[in-house]
Symmetry: C2
Subunit: 181 residues, 2 copies
């Protein structure tokens, strides 16, 4: 336990991801705290995007979704995400205007929010309100990307994902790479 | 010359990309013919996306843009695309509907068209109407992804890219990874 605390203290000082006790994810510490992966845009694979153009929606923006190459490969072989898989949804402010391709066209401006899901096939964190339905859940706002602003899966995350309950809470219909080839 | 022809014949039989005389791009043959890269969605890095929701536009659809990791890294160091860099824009049919994130939301359905640009910093194909303004240009339709349906940069490609002339014909404002970090 002492060793773990020392490792955690060092990792925290360096702002590096903490290693979980069983290293199932480099983004999760031994207590289930999830960190936002760095460099996911260049190191992860793009699964797909969504443009929420609804003026009245709190989720208005351009949503880009990424996962690890190895998690993608596992899904394409088995149809499920592997234990420890990471999904990052980056929401950027919606830019809209006329371009040579049409009017309107929508694209992505400055980052606003990141959502992270970590696949947990073993129920590692019983009682932790952010680990339910087979995943760990996190949300980070652009003004404080180190702090998981979600405190409860049921209160902060579940409702939006109910329509995807049959596909392990992931809206796979928007992700061409996850479709049968 | 004979060796090159044999290589070209074998490559064509296997539907593999042809190697150019100087191998500057695995997607370009010695005459400047451009082939659509396979597996770009999983092997390339996602630069950014555009949602063209204009009902009257021929480009209506979800546009996802990808490049090689090494080309991205070069751009981030130097501010320009390296010789041989590949850009692929995949246009998928626009799916639109109400989701838990809002109404409307737009996402990507079946592929419709791919655009490919290959950076050529050496003017390798003088007189070839698809190699101009520092790039090779190609367009493939979903019903025939082996055939470059563009025949002339000036007639088929130039107009849309004029607003991006100051940034080497690429609409970099939509690509977060290309911005100064």
């Amino acid at each position: 336990m002492k060793t773990k605390l020392v490792i955690a203290a060092i990792a925290s000082t360096l702002a590096m991801p903490l290693l979980a006790a069983d290293s199932f994810s480099p983004y999760v510490d031994g207590k289930g705290q999830i960190n936002l992966p760095k460099n996911f845009r260049s190191d992860f694979v793009h699964l797909g995007s969504w443009a929420v153009t609804d003026d009245k929606s709190a989720a208005r923006g351009f949503h880009d979704v990424y996962t690890e190459r190895k998690s993608l490969d596992h899904y394409r072989k088995t149809g499920v995400f592997p234990d420890g898989a990471t999904l990052v949804k980056e929401i950027r402010k919606l830019e809209t205007g006329p371009l040579t391709t049409g009017n309107p066209v929508h694209w992505a401006g400055e980052p606003a929010v990141w959502f992270v899901m970590i696949k947990d096939g073993k129920g590692r964190f019983p009682g932790n309100p952010l680990w339910e339905d087979g995943w760990g859940w996190a949300m980070y706002k652009a003004d404080d990307p180190r702090k998981n602003a979600a405190t409860s899966y049921k209160a902060d995350c579940q409702a939006c994902h109910i329509p995807a309950a049959q596909t392990d809470r992931v809206f796979v219909q928007g992700y061409p790479l996850l479709k049968k080839q």
